[in-house]
Every structure is written in structure tokens, then in C-alpha cells.
């Protein structure tokens, strides 16, 4: 596979400008340049995105005609997205390929920042052959009748637990909480029986943006009685701004913090929260971490918190619902998109197709720790890694964030609500603030109370 794919496209005109270089004298300034903007993430010590891009470029048959410019933005998730939006407003800054969280993609597509890929997709063999792409993942980049990105990762969420801690707490290594109450009791038992061990960790707070909303709060909220309609009423197509479910989710967060079942505020509300949690898990100083299926990437060779035994020491459990009627997971992912103002869309898309060739893509998805969006059966080692099976199984019943252009803004207020409930306000107060904020954004006519 791979390598020669781009030769099958008829988009050759995009490279015409580079023709003077053909004489072989010098590359000169005639080469077309494509700029790729991304955010490297924190799971790995090395910048695996850069590694993937460099390999893709080195193996590309258009390498001699096109210059590759890598624009790495090393910032917290939410800051990265804001910077990206500012970049995409300007043709000279927007670059040609951007790394987008799919929750933001809908909103950025509505803003006109992203190019529709409709004209390019017919030439993308992998996209259309019915077997290369995992069909369900395509929906993440679909908005208003068009695709705005090529999905490059997906994920599920659950509880990463340290079995040694569970054992020491007297819960037993096979402990599996069946409801919120059981989860809280488990945390209390860890607190009681294990000195210097933090029972529970989750991503929370304004600074952590979408991570706090989705990896933390929504994993709790979607497990309430309102389930899939707890955030956005899918029948009425309205945002839920006040409900018993939201209040209960707030109360759950408040209980965790009030009873001292979590880590220090300063570490949990910090943008480095995930790093603290991984390090404490490794040291046996943390029992339960509500996190995403990419967490093993932190511990594998080359990860930020290498830990050879993590496969035996940890378990990845489903997050129980409030009442104990089952479990819940949320699924999201990232995508590569092309800015609307890019002057090199065709050649950028050709490069993007190369990035999705298995041997290039492998570098990305292996280090990133997420689940692949394309068929990677030729790389079975990817699925032999610990917890990949658990993560994929969870995906079967996964819930998704509302596909609504306001979600990304509402999400910022969800993150705020999680922080309010944990720190300064009670469950009701945090919900009232949320209601006022969301109503202000989506308009009262688009809100509903349950």
C-alpha cells in the first residue's frame, strides 16, 4: 500500500507553479509551500506528529515540488483552539492543513473557517472504498451536508484504576463500581485505608476547557437519568439548562471535592492536571482516574510517564451510571482540515491523503494512543497493546457530543460549571450560573428545563 496513491489523482494542476524547479538546478523560491498547524499534546516525550509529517514528506513523490512548513503551537488545548481560530481569519496566517478537535470543527465550519472537502473526496480512494475508513468515524467531520475534515483519531472514556491501590484499600483487584454510590464508597474506602493515596482524579475546571467538559463532567452527566438528552434534548433540539440530572452531576462533583476524595485543587484545576494524575497512578498514589482511552500512551515506551508494568498494574473499567443501570462512555476525536482561506487546497489535500497512508499514520496513532479511524489490521501490534480491546469494546455503546454549532461555546460553560461545583458554589448555584450563561449564548428559545 501507500506511496503511489497520489499519482492516481488528477489534481496535478496544483503543482504547476513548481515546474521551473524541474531543471534540477536549485529548488529556489518557486516551490509551493504547505503549512501544517497542530498541537503536539502531552502524552509523548517526542513530537510524534512532527515525526509523522516528516516521514510523510520524505516519502512523498511531490517532495521536490513542495516545501513543508510545520507550525507547532505548544499550548493548552483551549488556547490552541483559540489561536487556530485567530489564524484562520487571515489568509496569510491560516496555513493549509490544521489539526482540529471534532467538537470545534462544527463550529469552525459554521464560521466559514474550514473548506468543504466535497470536491476532493471523490479522488480519495481510501475514503470511498468502503473498507479503509471506519464509517462511523466519518460522521464527526460532517456538518450541513458536507465533510470538513478527515478524521484521524477516535476514543472512548472510562476509569483507569491502579489494582495495587484497590487491593490495599480492601476493595480487591477486581473491584468494579456498579453505580455512583459504589464508586464514591470505593473512594471513601481508599481514603480511609491508604494513607497518602488520592482516591479519585478527573479533568476539571475552566483552564482545562473541553477536556474538563467531556473527559470529566459529561462522563458524569450523561450517566444520569436523562442520559443522552441530559445536555441537549435531542427530541426538542434544545439545550437543557436546568434539570435534576445536572444538579445531581454537580452534587457528585461537589461530594468528591467536599469529602477530600480528590487531589489538591491546585493540581486538579491546573492545565497540567493529566500529567499529575498519570504520575500519581504510576507511583501508586492514585486509585481511580476518570480519563480517556489514550491514557496508555503516557506509560508506553516513549510516553511521558514510561512504566513497563502498566499493563498488569492498571485496569480500564467502564464508568458506571448514576443509578447503576449500566455504564457510559463518550466518544470524540480529532481530524485534519483545510482552512477555507488556504491558497493551496489541492496540494494540501494530496499531502493529507499521504498522511493517512498506513505506514505514516501508524507513527501518529501508535504514539497518540487513540483508536484509529482507518483499517489498521496490517499493524496488529497496535491492537495488542494493553487496554486497546477494552477501549474498542466501550466504543460500541458510545455517546457523542451534540452536533450543534453552539456546542463549543456551551462547552466552555460546562467546564466552568464543573469548577464552580467543585470550588465556590453549591450544586444549585453552579447550575443557575450555567443556565444564565448558556441562555445568553443560544437564546432563551433554544433552551429547555427538564
Amino acid at each position: 500500500m501507500g506511496g503511489g496513491n497520489s499519482g492516481t489523482t488528477d489534481n496535478g494542476s496544483g503543482t504547476q507553479e513548481a515546474a521551473p524547479g524541474d531543471s534540477g538546478e536549485t529548488a529556489g523560491g518557486d516551490k509551493q509551500t504547505i503549512t501544517i498547524t497542530y498541537h503536539p499534546g502531552t502524552v509523548s516525550k517526542d513530537d510524534f506528529v512532527e515525526k509523522m509529517l516528516t516521514q510523510t514528506y520524505e516519502n512523498w513523490d511531490k517532495k521536490d515540488q513542495v516545501e513543508l512548513k510545520i507550525n507547532k503551537i505548544d499550548a493548552a488545548d483551549s488556547d490552541y483552539l483559540t489561536k487556530l481560530q485567530l489564524l484562520m481569519q487571515d489568509a496569510s496566517q491560516c496555513g493549509d492543513i490544521v489539526f482540529e478537535d471534532t467538537f470545534q470543527l462544527t463550529s469552525d465550519a459554521a464560521a466559514g473557517y474550514l473548506a468543504k472537502l466535497d470536491d476532493f473526496l471523490p479522488d480519495f480512494e481510501k475514503w470511498n472504498d468502503g473498507s479503509s475508513f471506519i464509517e462511523a468515524t466519518k460522521a464527526a467531520t460532517y456538518y450541513n451536508g458536507s465533510y470538513y475534515g478527515i478524521p484521524c483519531s477516535t476514543d472512548s472514556r472510562g476509569l483507569a484504576v491502579n489494582k495495587d491501590v484497590l487491593e490495599a484499600a480492601g476493595l480487591g483487584a477486581d473491584w468494579k463500581p456498579g453505580s455512583w454510590a459504589e464508586l464514591l464508597d470505593g473512594c471513601r474506602q481508599i481514603k480511609k485505608n491508604c494513607a497518602d493515596v488520592t482516591p479519585f482524579w478527573m479533568t476539571i475546571g475552566k483552564a482545562n476547557g473541553e477536556g474538563a467538559s467531556m473527559n470529566g463532567y459529561e462522563m458524569i452527566l450523561y450517566g444520569t437519568a436523562d442520559g443522552n438528552d441530559s445536555l441537549f434534548d435531542t427530541k426538542e433540539e434544545k439545550w437543557v439548562v436546568s434539570s435534576e440530572s445536572i444538579k445531581n452531576a454537580n452534587q457528585f462533583v461537589a461530594t468528591l471535592f467536599d469529602e477530600g476524595l480528590t487531589g489538591d485543587y491546585s493540581e486538579m484545576l491546573d492545565t497540567g492536571s493529566d500529567g499529575y494524575a498519570c504520575d500519581y497512578l504510576r507511583q501508586g498514589k492514585l486509585g481511580i482516574y476518570l480519563t480517556g482511552s489514550w491514557f496508555p500512551a503516557n506509560f508506553q515506551t516513549g510516553g511521558s510517564y514510561e512504566w513497563p508494568e502498566f499493563g498488569e498494574k492498571l485496569a480500564f473499567l467502564p464508568m458506571p451510571t448514576e443509578a447503576g443501570s449500566g455504564s457510559i462512555t463518550m466518544s470524540g476525536g480529532w481530524a485534519w482540515s483545510i482552512p477555507e482561506k488556504s491558497a493551496n487546497k489541492e496540494i494540501a489535500f494530496e499531502f493529507l491523503m499521504e498522511m493517512m497512508e498506513q505506514e505514516n499514520y501508524y507513527i501518529f496513532i501508535d504514539a497518540n494512543g487513540n483508536l484509529p479511524t482507518i483499517d489498521m489490521s496490517e499493524f496488529p501490534q497496535l491492537f495488542e497493546k494493553p487496554f486497546m480491546g477494552d477501549a474498542r469494546n466501550m466504543l460500541n455503546e458510545a455517546l457523542f457530543r451534540p452536533k450543534n454549532e453552539y456546542y463549543s461555546t456551551v462547552s466552555t460553560y460546562i467546564a466552568q460549571m464543573s469548577e464552580d461545583a467543585a470550588t465556590s458554589l453549591d450544586a444549585q448555584g453552579a447550575m443557575d450560573t450555567y443556565k444564565a450563561n448558556v441562555t445568553g449564548v443560544v437564546g432563551e428559545e433554544n433552551t429547555i428545563e427538564h
Binding site: 463550529s107 475552566k206 463549543s408 466552555t412 460553560y413 444564565a436
Partner: protein, 289 residues
């Protein structure tokens, strides 16, 4: 007649460069900000692609938004506490530096000045590392046998106020030093001969003489503190919750975190209004003199 017209023209020519700079870099951005505050300007979503003038909607929202009221209160608390702290401390240090020639002047002066000379980011990080859970203050407290206190989460407002007073005192100190140096020695001597004690001399002689300096300095520190953003943002990010969300922080959050640029701009107008009110009070006060 002709001569004076020529002179007038000359004045305008010489003023033109300064006026142009004012216009392009100050008046124009302010005018644009005023305009955007009447729009639905957004960073993302469909609003980002259709800019619409929405009249006073943003301002109506400000009046209804409890977060704005809360932020105004927090801005005033922060400003008043910082201005009072910086001025009182700045005056006290300047006063004691007058007659102590050696140790006090040599050590305290440079130490205070260091805080002021540092870039805002650095002094904010210094403050953060004093108050954070594993910071200097907790190390000292624990060494003395007390339990550690989560300053930035239990007393966030107090922490940023103390940090800002530390950072700003040097400025007030320098201003008051200059003013006190200008108090004529004869007046001080006269008051001493008349039997005034130290406090009486300060209250009835020196303070009234430097009253204008006090007003000016209070005004300048007020304006500097009102607009303080980076310092608070670095230490607490406006949190925990909204405990240190002053108006500049709220403005940034609304514009760049909640993607509502129009509303953020409207909030900045409230800040402008508050600054203007302080400005008018000050101007009136000096006109009165």
C-alpha cells in the same frame, strides 16, 4: 494678523505627527472597539461569518448578567485594597527612608524596586510561587509547625492583592520620596519648634503639603490596577470558580474563552466607563485646588 495665522499653521504642522499617531493607534482602535461592542462579533460559529449590528443587546445583557456585577465588585475590592496598600506602604517606606541613611535605605529600597522593575510575568510567577500549595509561604508556615494553607484556593483575592501591593509599592515609594524631599526643611523645623510630635508633623504639615502628589499618585495607581490583567491571569486565571474574576479577566474570558468577542468588547466599555469616572473625580479634585 497674518503673522499669527502663519504661526497657527506652524503649530498644526508640528502637531500633525503626534496627532496622526494618536489617531491611528489610539482613537481608531477605541472607535472600533465601541463599534464592535454593538455587534455580535464572535470567534467561531455562524456568527463569526455574519457580523451583525445588534444595537444595545450586549449592553442589555451586561445589566442582566450576574457575572458582570460580581466582576465589578471584585474589581473595586481589588483596586481599592491595592491602591490603599500601595500608597500607605509606599508613603511609609519613603518616610522612613528620609532619615535612615544606611541599612534601611540600602536594603529596602532595592528590594522593593526589584519587584517593580521585573516584567509583569516574572513578578506574577514570583507571587504564584510564594502562595502556591508547595510554595515559599507554606514552607515557612510548616517550618514553624503549622499546617499548610491552600492560599490560592482558600484566599485567592487576598493572595493577588498582597502580590500586587508588593509589586506596586516601589512606584508609590519613589513618587512619595520625591515629594517628601521637596517639603521645605524650614517648615519641618518650625513645626518641631512649635512642639509638634512626629505624627502631628506628618498629619498637619507634611501630608497637606504633598496633597497634590497623593492625589496624582492615587489616580495613577488606580488606573494601573483597574486594568490589571496579566498579573491576575497568571496567578489564578480568574479562579477558583470566579473568585478573582475582575472585569479585565471577565472581558478576556468572554471574548477568547467563550468566543463572544462582541460581548467581551462591551464589557471593556464598562471598564472604560469606570476608569473615566475615576478620571473625572480626580480632575474635579485638582480643579478645586
Amino acid at each position: 494678523m497674518n503673522k499669527s495665522r502663519k504661526k497657527n499653521r506652524q503649530i498644526y504642522v508640528f502637531m500633525a505627527p503626534a496627532l496622526a499617531v494618536m489617531l491611528v493607534f489610539f482613537m481608531l482602535p477605541v472607535a472600533m472597539a465601541i463599534f464592535y461592542s454593538f455587534t455580535n462579533l464572535a470567534l467561531t460559529g455562524s456568527k463569526a461569518s455574519n457580523l451583525e449590528v445588534i444595537g444595545f443587546a450586549n449592553y442589555i445583557k451586561i445589566f442582566k448578567d450576574p457575572a458582570v456585577k460580581d466582576a465589578i465588585v471584585k474589581t473595586l475590592v481589588f483596586t481599592v485594597a491595592c491602591v490603599a496598600g500601595q500608597n500607605v506602604l509606599g508613603f511609609a517606606v519613603a518616610y522612613f527612608m528620609q532619615d535612615t541613611k544606611t541599612v534601611f535605605r540600602r536594603i529596602i529600597g532595592p528590594v522593593l524596586l526589584a519587584a517593580w522593575v521585573m516584567p509583569e510575568v516574572v513578578s506574577a510567577i514570583c507571587t504564584y510561587s510564594v502562595f502556591t500549595d508547595k510554595g515559599t509561604l507554606n514552607v515557612i508556615i510548616q517550618a514553624l509547625g503549622f499546617g499548610k494553607i491552600s492560599w490560592l484556593y482558600k484566599y485567592p483575592m487576598l493572595s493577588i492583592i498582597l502580590g500586587n501591593i508588593w509589586r506596586g509599592t516601589a512606584y508609590s515609594m519613589m513618587v512619595y520620596q520625591a515629594a517628601l524631599d521637596n517639603v521645605p526643611g524650614e517648615v519641618k523645623e518650625a513645626s518641631r519648634i512649635d512642639g509638634a510630635g512626629r505624627l502631628q508633623a506628618i498629619g498637619y504639615v507634611e501630608l497637606p503639603i504633598i496633597k497634590n502628589t497623593i492625589m496624582t499618585n492615587a489616580m495613577l495607581t488606580t488606573l494601573m490596577t483597574l486594568g490589571s490583567f496579566g498579573f491576575i491571569w497568571i496567578i489564578t486565571g480568574g479562579g477558583p470558580g470566579n473568585a478573582t474574576t475582575t472585569l479585565p479577566v471577565l472581558m478576556y474570558l468572554k471574548a477568547f474563552k467563550n468566543y463572544d468577542l462582541g460581548y467581551g468588547t462591551a464589557i471593556s466599555m464598562v471598564l472604560l466607563l469606570i476608569s473615566a469616572v475615576f478620571g473625572i473625580i480626580y480632575t474635579r479634585q485638582s480643579e478645586g485646588d
